[in-house]
């Protein structure tokens, strides 16, 4: 049998031990990295979206340089892929996919959700995007053009959704609370 076909949990344990013995990754380093990764969540992206809805200067920064906009919200971006932000308008809706693997704006949204990594999502997003969105009950009006952004290379992409009607006068915390993970990938709209 090919050694790579070893049961995955045994392979992980053996690799983890070897990396620790060789001084490449200690158990403490791994635990620390897990804690850092667990700390990233869609709440971070939601804060950026809410701020962009309230502050035109921040919105402009976010659209021109997503990495700087994330850093301005205290999100660590150093050494991570550049972040691009796609602006939804009354005429255009964006949907993000990675057909080749599962590139995801992890720095601002955390771990990719299960569906984003699935073969069905990756296959359908580029070929039948409107049918795919129906899985979430999301209907893009006929008057709206859809732009499907395939993260094939070095950028990571998030969507800046449209601010829902009936949110006038809301503060940043209240706005951020209605922005969900899927809204920033384009499978859903923020619920006003």
């Amino acid at each position: 049998m090919n050694i790579l076909q070893t049961a995955s949990h045994r392979l992980l344990a053996a690799i983890a031990n070897l990396l620790a013995e060789k001084g490449i990754a200690s158990a403490q380093e791994v635990a620390h990295r897990i804690a850092l990764t667990d700390a990233a969540s869609p709440a971070q992206g939601a804060r950026m979206v809410a701020r962009a809805w309230l502050d035109p200067d921040y919105r402009a920064l976010m659209l021109s340089d997503g990495t700087k906009a994330a850093e301005a919200e205290g999100i660590p971006m150093r050494g991570l892929p550049p972040l691009g932000v796609l602006e939804d308008t009354a005429d255009v809706h964006h949907l993000v996919v990675c057909t080749l693997c599962s590139c995801y704006p992890r720095a601002v949204l955390g771990y990719p959700p299960f569906w984003f990594k699935s073969a069905a999502y990756r296959a359908r997003a580029v070929r039948d995007p409107r049918g795919l969105l129906a899985e979430w009950g999301t209907v893009i009006p006929d008057t709206m053009r859809l732009r499907v952004v395939d993260s094939t290379a070095d950028y990571r992409w998030m969507v800046l959704p449209q601010r829902p009607a009936r949110t006038d006068g809301w503060d940043a915390d209240r706005l951020a609370a209605i922005v969900r993970e899927g809204d920033m990938i384009g499978v859903t709209f923020p619920a006003g």
Binding site: P82, D128, R147, V148, V149, T152, A153
Partner: protein
Amino acid sequence: MLSPGTHVRVRFDWPETRGPCHIRTPHFIRGAEGVVERHLGRFPNAEDLAFARPAALLDLYHVRFDQPAIWGEGRAGDALVIELAETWLEPT
């Protein structure tokens, strides 16, 4: 460098048939014609990075394609936008 609005064709090439490789240009877009939206920067060639080889910096572009034209189905006006390296693009 290609300026926004330049019409390009993705090379119709299948390096996979010639031996081990790692290609970041999706199968479905090879041979398709699109329009450069913008230059995204210069990044090391992933086809070399994947094998831990020295990697030259390549211009990376956001290229827009008419979505129904790719599949022969879909809604007119819908688009695919894909990150593609200069080595895969030829002006038309």
